[in-house]
Structures are given as structure tokens and as C-alpha cells.
Symmetry: C2
Subunit: 140 residues, 2 copies
């Protein structure tokens, strides 16, 4: 599985025309394992190796430009990043924020209908749905 992940990441970077650097691979692995949007600070603290925060921001920037990563939404002034592999070009899965514990979750199996592509002169190309309420743990 680790072998597969390394190979997968290697291929992704090659296809994107990005240098295959240690930092890029480590950050991608952290994002793969997180399975939800996380902040620069969270990436930093999940990492064994010390990263300069500028390096993390610039690495994320390059991955976003390549379409591998995207910003999910902004929570408490810090953007949260996740892999883009479970989103279409027109719509990301809905994101959920618990109003009690503050945790965020990707509701990848909750499908939401897209708004019409045109609405009173607006050309709508992308839709993002943000949900709030209580997470399973806090619903009890």
C-alpha cells in the first residue's frame, strides 16, 4: 500500500510536470492520510520533518496550480487544503462543519444538484456547498 502510494504520488508529480522533491511527496502523503481539509499549521504539526511555513504554502500553491490540491473553504482565517481527487470540475463534495466541536468533514457521498449553468446573465461554472450542524459524535 505504501509502495502503491509512493508510485501514485510519483506519477501524479510527473504528469503535472513538477519536480519530484522530498517535501512535495511528504506533504502529499499527509494530505492523503488526512482525508479532510487541513490547514498549513495542521500539515506542519503532522509532519515529523520540520518544514518552513513558506515552503508549505509554496508547495501547496504548486499543487493547486497543477490541480492536485484545492482550497476547500476558509475556516477561522486559515484556509484548509485537501486533495482534489474526490471532486469534479463543476462541484466539490459538500463540506460539513460541526458547530459544537468545530471539526470538519467531507460528505463525499452526499450528492447535491448543480445550480443551472446560467442564471440572469451569470455563467455558473463551479458550485461549493457548505453545511453546518452537529457531527455524529456531537449529535448524541
Amino acid at each position: 500500500m505504501n509502495e502503491n502510494l509512493d508510485t501514485h504520488i510519483y506519477k501524479m508529480l510527473t504528469e503535472a510536470g513538477l519536480y519530484h522533491t522530498e517535501n512535495r511527496v511528504l506533504i502529499l502523503k499527509i494530505l492523503f492520510n488526512a482525508r479532510k481539509p487541513i490547514s498549513q499549521e495542521a500539515i506542519s504539526s503532522k509532519s515529523v520533518k520540520h518544514f518552513d511555513k513558506v515552503t508549505i504554502y509554496r508547495t501547496l500553491e504548486s499543487l493547486i496550480k497543477a490541480g492536485i490540491v484545492h482550497k476547500a473553504f476558509i475556516n477561522k482565517r486559515a484556509s484548509h487544503y485537501e486533495l482534489a481527487h474526490r471532486c469534479t470540475t463543476k462541484q466539490c463534495h459538500p463540506h460539513f462543519t460541526c458547530t459544537k466541536c468545530g471539526s470538519t468533514h467531507c460528505l463525499v457521498d452526499l450528492s447535491m444538484p448543480m445550480a443551472a449553468a446560467n442564471h440572469k446573465g451569470f455563467t455558473i461554472t463551479h458550485q461549493q456547498v457548505h453545511l453546518e450542524g452537529l457531527c455524529p459524535a456531537c449529535s448524541q
Copy 2:
């Protein structure tokens, strides 16, 4: 019309149990006139009177707590504020951001179906839809 707005604002503040202060009224008028989410910085620059930014943040905070104002979404690290009068408790109208000119719009007449109130243990109480694409001016 100005007479009506003053009266309306006065009533809103009274009903919310908030002091009827000059600053609160001025900021509410700016929000009424803006007709879209705007930042603290924008409120400040639209105002003839000089406001301390802390005053604006604390005024908005009190209005949010009273349910009169809410944060629409966060754009470029700065929250954008608008009146809550065109939103229900469960769902705000969709917000649109133009990818070309960066302008934001409230699509108050574009209705989006609510996600189910329950989904795999999540209790969903609020939904926010964010759309992207080209605004009428940029669509030409």
C-alpha cells in the same frame, strides 16, 4: 425613504435589545445600501465618519449575535458581512463570485434544495452554497 430606513433600523435595534447608537445606525445603513457582503475595510471606506476598526468589528459582532447581520463567507482572508434579512434560518441565498473581476453577488432568487436534515449521523441545520463563474458584465 430615508425616514423609513431610520425608523426601520430604530425598530430592529429596539427589538434586538441593543442600544440605539450613532455608529450602529451608520453601519447598518452602509450594509443596507451595499446590497451584498462587504468587508470591515469596505464599511470603513464607505463611511464619511471615521470609525476605529475595532468599533466596526464589535458593532458587527453585536449585530450578528442579534441575528441582524451574518458572515456570508470569507474571501481573501477578510470576512464579508451583509444583512441577514434575505436568508432563512436553514439556508442563505447562494453567493456568487466572478472569477474574472472578483466581484461578489447575492443570487437571492436562485433557490437551491436543502440537503436532508440527517446524513449518516450528521445533523444538518444550515446550508451555504457558493457559486463561481462569470458575472453578467464579464460574460460578454
